[in-house]
């Protein structure tokens, strides 16, 4: 997902406090920033929300790549609005993380020097305009699968950020599907581009949910804390079940020869992605890892004079006001 392979921290604290805390969560209460919480809960959330925020920000790059080359002015305006939304999503999430006592600059620095990760999906290139369709349809679609249940997460600020984000996401997925429909109904060359985009983004999209975590201790803890709401496999299955008919409608073929509808389970059987590729991308060896991080570092460095200058100006103005009073 936008937060993958989040390790939850073991917690060693007053058992009585821990029991009371868990009881609040089980009763569906929201945990707010100033409430007592186990150190592990706080740490795990900072890692998870931070990674989620980084994904929103880095996720602007593959789509930003096509803003200047969108085929029409309208498509350009739509893509620009979509990418701007993602910046907002990053902001909502950074703010949620900040309520846990980490600063924005700290989070940014941890992204820039590689201590924190972002979703593997954004390390794949966007080669044609059809990729803008595939990203909106599949990548935002997969993100929605995960974000909708997270609206009910136990941590108040995270839950509220998710509610805002979910309101905006369906526009993202629909604009992507709209591009796919246009391409799939277009000339043979356009349809081929659409099929090629689906071929390249299918398995990376399945990887977004992370490897199977059925037996993972970490996800068990996170699920008890309600900061993870479903297993990775559950969400992946849901995504496949939802997406396959949408591909059929487009007249495109999901690149999985073993994909079959299973009468008995009421779900599609499908081929797992190549998990060695996933781990390789996480390690930094995906097609675009270096490029993405370099772009973020450049933006941060190039923006330094603006950040410093505006702050100096604001401080000077405040000092002058103080002197006048």
């Amino acid at each position: 997902m936008y937060a993958q392979m989040i390790k939850s921290e073991a917690t060693q604290e007053d058992p009585e406090k821990l029991t009371a805390f868990q009881a609040r969560i089980d009763a569906g209460e929201k945990i707010e920033p100033k409430d007592w919480m186990p150190a592990g809960y706080r740490k795990t959330l900072i890692r998870q929300i931070g990674q989620h925020a980084h994904s929103e920000i880095v996720g602007q790059l593959p789509e930003g790549n096509w803003i200047t080359r969108a085929p029409t002015l309208e498509r350009k305006a739509i893509l620009l609005a979509k990418v701007q939304d993602e910046a907002g999503h990053g902001l909502y999430l950074y703010c949620a993380a900040e309520t846990l006592g980490v600063s924005r600059d700290e989070l940014t620095e941890m992204l820039l020097d590689g201590r924190m990760k972002y979703s593997s999906i954004f390390n794949y290139p966007t080669l044609t305009w059809a990729d803008m369709g595939a990203v909106g349809w599949l990548v935002d679609g997969a993100a929605i699968m995960n974000q909708v249940p997270l609206q009910r997460t136990s941590f108040g600020p995270y839950s509220r950020a998710m509610i805002r984000i979910c309101k905006e996401e369906s526009f993202h997925q629909r604009q992507g599907y709209d591009i796919m429909m246009k391409m799939a109904q277009g000339t043979p060359a356009q349809k081929k581009m659409a099929q090629d985009a689906l071929n390249r983004f299918w398995y990376p999209s399945l990887m977004m949910f992370g490897p199977s975590d059925k037996d993972s201790v970490h996800s068990e803890q996170s699920m008890a804390w309600k900061i993870k709401m479903n297993t990775n496999d559950e969400l992946r299955q849901k995504f496949v079940d939802q997406t396959v008919p949408q591909a059929e409608y487009l007249g495109l073929t999901v690149p999985d020869p073993d994909l079959t509808w299973n009468e008995e389970t009421g779900h599609y059987d499908f081929t797992q992605p190549d998990w060695s590729e996933f781990f390789d991308v996480l390690k930094g060896n995906g097609p675009c890892n270096r490029e993405r991080l370099a772009a973020r570092n450049k933006a941060w460095d190039d923006g330094k004079w603006v950040r410093d200058g505006l702050l100096a100006h604001a401080e000077k103005k405040a000092a002058r006001r103080m002197a006048a009073e």
Binding site: L91, T99, L311
Partner: protein
């Protein structure tokens, strides 16, 4: 009852860290179209109030969500403490007569 303090927690290790030169955090309040009060919608960083309002417009009113923006620097917000929940809110629990449904008015009297 403890005295009011900041809206966000100071985690143990934040104090130990060197002070950062970061734009301050602002809390954003938006009044929607239909005459409701300003409502807290989120926060953002900005060097000053003017920029905070501009950024708030870009982030929190992209879909006609509001007609008016308030910004308050987060450090100026005083907040009650979770441990005061009892002393602050319990007194009202026993005062059911503050709700109109406490009183039985005969139907013959008509709407009231």
């Amino acid at each position: 009852m403890s005295s009011p303090n900041a809206a966000y927690p100071d985690t143990p290790d934040t104090n130990a860290k060197p002070k950062r030169h970061e734009w301050p955090l602002w809390e954003i309040f938006i009044r929607g179209q239909h005459g409701m009060s300003h409502r807290h919608v989120g926060s953002l960083h900005a060097p000053d109030a003017e920029m905070a309002i501009k950024n708030a417009r870009d982030v929190y009113t992209r879909r006609n969500e509001g007609v008016s923006i308030w910004v308050v620097e987060a450090r100026h917000i005083a907040a009650s403490s979770p441990s005061d929940k009892g002393p602050l809110y319990e007194p009202s629990e026993s005062k059911v007569y503050r709700h109109p449904t406490f009183f039985d008015i005969p139907e013959d009297v008509g709407a009231m």
